[in-house]
């Protein structure tokens, strides 16, 4: 469901930087399903990957060799994260993270505090680079108490920082609405014009079928905003489910309980 919900956020015709892990699968699903003209790019260099056959599984990593075959450009990290992302040409991004907070800041760095960490996570990879420059960041992670925090334990990736105006003050461009797709629901952000006005807070927009609003509220630790147009997400179609299972050849992406 999380994979499908994330994929549905990827728009046709958009240039997209796709991060490690579940995003590779979600973006591949979007590409095969409803967004054939999205530009599928990963940070190690392949830009505009079009699988040469529908039999191919989703890439397993951002430098998966399968990305070479069918890509329009085989560049490097300077091209992908530098020119494409930092240069302002990536319209959206799909990222995983360990934590997200009220204002959409992501954490891929550590759980706990810096001097007394519960766990040191791998670090930001390209997430901080992407968060600084991409307008529409689609993040994806299971809805769990340890992942949703009023303030992230460590902000590795700028969302709206402390709220309205936060990005401008930090020296960043304001950005468009973010999205966070989880295992129970989809959140948007209360910012019509990209971080200038609006509360810049996370807003519950869609519940998965069978999930109650209260269940989400019980996990999110702050007073969660709920969209006046809160709806139930359409369940995954047979086509989507078939595609996901096909793309996850080998079962590397779909870890039980975490999609």
């Amino acid at each position: 469901m999380m994979i499908v919900a994330t994929a549905r956020q990827v728009r046709d015709g958009e240039s997209t930087i796709v991060g490690m892990g579940p995003p590779l699968l979600s973006a591949a699903l979007a590409k095969y399903h409803h967004a054939p003209n999205m530009w599928y790019c990963t940070e190690s260099g392949p830009l505009d990957w079009i699988p040469t056959s529908r039999d191919l599984p989703a890439p397993l990593g951002i430098a998966d060799h399968s990305l070479v075959q069918g890509s329009a450009m085989s560049g490097d990290m300077v091209d992908a994260l530098g020119a494409f992302v930092n240069g302002g040409w990536a319209q959206s991004a799909v990222l995983q993270a360990a934590q997200i907070d009220r204002f959409g800041n992501l954490n891929t760095m550590l759980a706990g505090t810096f001097e007394d960490p519960i766990r040191r996570l791998p670090g930001t990879g390209g997430n901080a680079d992407i968060g600084a420059s991409v307008g529409r960041v689609i993040s994806t992670m299971p809805l769990e108490k340890r992942r949703f925090k009023e303030r992230a334990d460590f902000r590795t990736t700028a969302g709206y920082i402390d709220g309205p105006g936060g990005r401008g003050e930090a020296g960043l461009a304001p950005q468009g609405p973010n999205t966070c797709a989880t295992t129970m629901c989809v959140f948007g952000f209360d910012t019509e014009d990209g971080g200038v006005t609006g509360s810049c807070e996370m807003v519950l927009e869609q519940l998965f079928p069978g999930v109650a609003l209260e269940e989400v509220q019980a996990i999110v630790p702050w007073d969660l905003k709920v969209s006046s147009e809160l709806s139930y997400m359409d369940p995954p179609t047979a086509e989507e489910l078939t595609l996901v299972r096909h793309l996850d050849d080998g079962g590397n992406h779909l870890i039980p309980g975490r999609y």
Binding site: L47, D48, I50, S66, A72, M73
Partner: protein
């Protein structure tokens, strides 16, 4: 640093004529990356024909096409490291003396790095090149024909064309150059597909960063090829399709310049056109005859064939190809 993405035509095809491309994407006053190594004379001619004005030409080295655009009244500002044709062209020397053409000087490398910085979303970039030279003198940076107005800040003051600061890391002097983000790039390339995936090989000079840094990229291509040609040699792509606004199929688009793998430079004709830029009358005559007098690259080439014979043109074609001794193996399963 995220800026609005240039909008592209619906669907992915960006194939159009030079006329349409210049009409849609080149505006008076634009900063234009005009090429260094592979020049699109096809687009140069079209810019002159459409009477575009007040363009600023930038490139590591600017080439005879900029001399031509200046004399024709399209280019009146230049930022570059090298002005090809300066010495011989009296009109150009005259315009540089009387201020009709304004400029600031950089180098081949620093213009390339400034384009790279623009392409990478950086505000500036470091290079030692002008330390200890007269470029850093106040009277050079702000000479009477320099581009002061282009450097005016929001508060009215004038930003310098380069600035020395102390490095916050080791305290040593660092010379910074501001990023360049042209409005439009014009280049010729060996091949592209309809979607705008541009492939260039051979000495690339500043081409790649000229294209990445420019908001709109207009490319004339010697060959339009299917996507599968592009994606079976993806290492030749310098910019992907989403970065490109217009693809024009214009064979011989670099003539009288050369194009690796296709034709050698037409040195005799290059000499002649260069010589015609040496004074106003011969320059106007050349422009009337070969630019205003032709409607598009195909007409220019037809006129060339008509006047000099097919043999003259065909003699330029490359006949001798280098063959990979052991082609790189691409394969993953």
């Amino acid at each position: 640093m995220a800026e609005p993405i240039n909008s592209w035509p619906s669907g992915r095809s960006k194939l159009m004529s030079a006329r349409e491309a210049v009409n849609r994407f080149v505006n008076d006053g634009d900063t234009i990356y005009s090429g260094f190594n592979i020049i699109s004379f096809a687009l140069t001619d079209e810019i002159i024909r459409q009477g575009k004005q007040h363009l600023k030409a930038v490139a590591g080295s600017v080439t005879p096409n900029v001399t031509m655009m200046s004399i024709a009244g399209s280019v009146d500002r230049i930022e570059t490291g090298y002005l090809s044709g300066t010495l011989r062209s009296k009109p150009f020397q005259e315009m540089m003396r009387d201020g009709r053409v304004k400029w600031n000087d950089y180098t081949n490398m620093t213009i390339t790095l400034r384009l790279m910085a623009g392409g990478l979303g950086m505000p500036f970039i470091c290079a030692n090149s002008f330390l200890g030279t007269d470029y850093l003198l106040e009277e050079t940076m702000n000479h009477s024909r320099s581009l002061k107005e282009d450097r005016r800040r929001e508060d009215g003051s004038i930003a310098p064309p380069y600035a020395v600061i102390d490095s916050p890391f080791d305290g040593r002097k660092a010379l910074l150059y501001p990023a360049l983000k042209p409005d439009v790039a014009i280049v010729h390339c060996q091949r592209a597909d309809e979607e705008g995936n541009v492939q260039v090989w051979g000495p690339r000079a500043d081409t790649k960063w000229g294209l990445w840094s420019s908001r709109n990229v207009l490319v004339t291509a010697e060959e339009i090829v299917p996507r599968s040609v592009i994606s079976t040699e993806p290492h030749f792509t310098v910019v992907p399709g989403f970065k490109v606004s217009a693809v024009i199929h214009d064979p011989w688009g670099a003539h009288p310049g050369g194009l690796l793998g296709h034709y050698r430079a037409d040195r005799a004709w290059g000499e002649l056109t260069g010589a015609s830029m040496t004074d106003w009358n011969s320059a106007r005559k050349y422009l009337d005859d070969w630019v205003y007098g032709t409607e598009e690259r195909a007409a220019y080439i037809a006129q060339y064939r008509e006047r000099f014979g097919d043999e003259m043109l065909e003699a330029l074609r490359v006949k001798d190809f280098m063959v990979p001794e052991q082609p790189a193996k691409y394969g993953w399963r």
